[in-house]
Symmetry: C2
Subunit: 199 residues, 2 copies
DNA sequence: ACCTGAACACCGTTCAAGT
DNA sequence: ACCTGAACACCGTTCAAGT
């Protein structure tokens, strides 16, 4: 739909053009179908041009993961800000946002949490850290409100995060019916609240 | 280490030979490094020979995922059988087994729960179902023992499953330090038990 | 600085042909 | 039935050269 319009690149924003073409391909075709040469073709440059901006295919994938975390972080921030001020409302909003993001962009989720950027991809992990940076504060708020026990460690937040990621993965992989999404996430939140409630 | 011994194949067990070579490559090099041609070379047949047993690369990946689920299911069965008879012991044993499997074979875990076999890979999902088939019974046992509430639905089990998968994914992807593994899984189990306890 | 074109080594997949 | 060898179209990556 946005292929051969007027080519506003050729000099300006090759990097961005490649990235957004890649996002689209990732969403619609999956990671295996993502080819540097094909992207170059779509964007209208030679196959060697992307090299200036991404040293290799993995660098492109890393960049996609990073922009994914940035987008997710932004959405989390917004949904928390838009929710009621109490802990439970904010938590539910954040979890809902994450799970929606994760199931709407399955291939991207997979890429973001992939094994690939294990070594040498510090930036990806930093981006992941930033996306979830408000989580500890949220836990604190819950403790201050008395919604969860003061003994609740920040690691309980990580466990909840893992749960949501896992639910999305099970659904994206087809191991669990998509219709169960809401029920499972609701249950996960309830379990978290009950499992960490005071006294 | 098992490359060029005496080649006991050439007729017999090409399929098995390819599969086990693939498992090794997957574990040591990752999915991207997995090439049909290279496997054929390792096993000592022409590059077109694998075609007889795997119609394409995806079929090989599916077969790897299936054998992964079979192995995981077997390990789960054994660890449950070897544990004390009470619900909590069995649950902890099963969760520990899953998490160990998942972190020792990161690339395989990723493949097993991947988006790839979404359409047309019924066998993979069946294998996944078999691997976790004892989970509902385990939940029932917990209810019978009064360890968890009678209202606990089987879906709580899925949530726990998702949690463990998620923890492994976070660690395998380097987003969480590997040293936190035990702490996180313990916390996940405790939260599950507290979140579903009776009364 | 940014891009091109040719070149290299490697894929997955297909197909006629061999045993 | 099972495997081979050649062929096709496609990669990622590199590098000298152009503007």
């Amino acid at each position: 739909m946005t292929e051969t319009e007027e080519r506003p690149y050729h000099h300006g924003s090759l990097r961005d053009a490649l990235l957004s073409a890649a996002e689209e391909t990732l969403r619609e075709q999956g990671q295996d179908e993502l080819s540097l040469r094909e992207l170059a073709r779509q964007v209208g440059v030679s196959h060697a041009a992307p090299r200036r901006h991404f040293r290799d295919r993995q660098a492109l994938l890393d960049a996609l993961a990073i922009s994914g975390f940035e987008r997710l972080g932004e959405q989390l921030r917004q949904s928390i800000a838009a929710a009621e001020d109490d802990f439970a409302s904010r938590l539910r909003a954040a979890v809902g946002t994450f799970v929606r993001f994760a199931t709407q962009d399955a291939a991207l989720l997979e890429l973001m949490f992939s094994t690939k950027h294990r070594e040498g991809a510090e930036p990806v992990r930093e981006a992941a850290g930033s996306a979830f940076e408000h989580l500890p504060q949220l836990i604190e708020q819950g403790q201050d409100e008395g919604a969860i026990a003061p003994s609740t460690s920040p690691q309980s937040g990580i466990v909840l995060l893992a749960t949501v990621q896992g639910i999305a993965t099970l659904i994206n992989g087809g191991m669990v019916e998509a219709g169960m999404l809401d029920e499972l996430t609701d249950r996960a939140v309830e379990q978290f609240l009950r499992g960490n409630r005071p006294d």
